[in-house]
């Protein structure tokens, strides 16, 4: 399994039809949801359904993530039932402090079975306090894989009006990307909630990519192709990255310590970006065969 999380698709945890078909949509990650998608009276049945689905349904094309409830509601029961079923990670809602993550990590450690691959944590940042504490949260545990942003709860808590173009969440998005990058983990953007507006989805996703997000929470299978297309390296980006690497090789061959491309110096951040682009392109089979 790679660390590709362009799309993380929510599947309602008490819906057997969605759970059994979730693997066919091609999302990088599936989030089997025990929180908002499940009514309080059905938390027990959904937990069992998700646990059995994880054990028996083939999700081999996608990473499996389970959104649990908060520890002050059903979270402990969720962790005890779900962790032994070997999800790749838990998505933890309404994370406010690093202590929240440490408490979750301790519960996970207690529930893991001997020899089991460590279950990761993705923290959903959806409160002003959580955003203010984003870096301590991102570094609270070696299990941390990503910060994800939940803009609906966040703007509601601020008292801000939510708009489609999203100027009210610009600062929050940038702060979250920065905190995740500083911690060396991924950042995943808030979902685009109008499933009928594909143009808006593409524009919103392109802006998220521009800010540095590595993927987007996804609420409908119809959104997957559009989001993947935006996050995939474009032909232009791949071509640029190949030329960067060619310039580096040429400088090395000539014994020069400094490489340049189109009159601009090629330094370490440029090389890192080019390598990341080519890594993604190879992973996704987007490079032409035979081209170095």
């Amino acid at each position: 399994m790679t660390d590709l999380r362009r799309t993380m698709l929510f599947l309602p945890g008490n819906n057997p039809g969605m759970l059994q078909n979730g693997g066919i949509f091609g999302a990088d990650s599936l989030i089997l949801d025990l929180e908002d998608a499940v009514a309080p009276a059905e938390k027990d049945t959904a937990r069992l359904l998700v646990a059995h689905a994880l054990r028996e349904i083939d999700y081999s094309g996608s990473e499996t993530v389970v959104r649990i409830n908060t520890l002050d509601t059903f979270g402990k029961q969720d962790i005890r039932a779900i962790v032994p079923c070997r999800p790749a990670a838990l998505l933890v809602p309404k994370v406010q402090t690093a202590d929240d993550i440490r408490a979750i990590a301790a519960e996970i450690a207690a529930a893991e079975r001997p020899g089991q691959a460590p279950v990761g944590i993705i923290a959903l940042i959806e409160t002003p306090r959580g955003l203010a504490e984003a870096y301590p949260i991102a570094t609270a545990s070696s299990r941390m894989l990503a910060l994800a942003f939940g803009a609906e709860d966040y703007t509601a808590a601020l008292g801000a009006q939510r708009t489609k173009e999203g100027s009210e969440i610009l600062n929050a998005r940038a702060a979250l990307v920065n905190a995740a990058a500083a911690a060396g983990i991924q950042s995943i953007d808030t979902p685009f909630t109008d499933v009928n507006d594909e143009t808006g989805l593409v524009a919103d996703t392109a802006f998220a990519k521009q800010l540095g997000f590595k993927g987007k929470l996804t609420i409908n299978p119809r959104q997957i192709d559009s989001i993947h297309t935006v996050f995939n390296p474009s032909i232009k980006e791949i071509d640029w990255a190949e030329r960067v690497m060619q310039a580096i090789r040429q400088a090395e061959a000539e014994g020069s310590g400094v490489a340049s491309l189109d009159g601009k110096m090629v330094d370490a951040p440029i090389v890192n970006r080019a390598e990341r682009t080519l890594y993604l392109a190879d992973l996704l089979g987007l490079r032409k065969v035979g081209k170095a």
Binding site: N15, P16, G17, Q20, D44, T45, R47, L48, L49, A51, H52, A53, R55, E56, I57, Q77, R80, A81, P84, C85
Partner: protein, 97 residues
């Protein structure tokens, strides 16, 4: 021997789900299963077997089960049955997976 404490139900009538109701059976009647399925001809026996095995693992003796199947997978049948039994007070939630 474990006795059912109360009747209970889990699951829905949506596609790919199964609604299972459990209730205490009369003494020494064993497991009585009333099954209605969209795919009775093809999978009726397999569904009966999945239910029987799951109940047997929980050590329940006299039990009435009504199951209305809408094309559920085995894992869904097991999850719904265990949820109904847990709600009935037969088993602890954490012990069932």
């Amino acid at each position: 021997m474990i006795q059912l404490l109360r009747p209970a139900q889990a699951g829905t009538l949506e596609s790919n789900d199964i609604m299972i109701t459990v209730a205490p059976g009369k003494a020494a009647t064993g497991i009585v299963l009333e099954l209605d399925s969209l795919v009775m001809d093809q999978y009726g026996e397999a569904i009966r077997q999945t239910i029987a095995e799951t109940v047997a693992q929980q050590g329940v003796d006299d039990l009435y089960i009504k199951a209305i199947d809408r094309g559920a997978l085995d894992c869904t049948i097991r999850a719904r049955l265990l949820a109904a039994l847990a709600r009935a007070g037969v088993i602890r939630q954490e012990a069932v997976v």
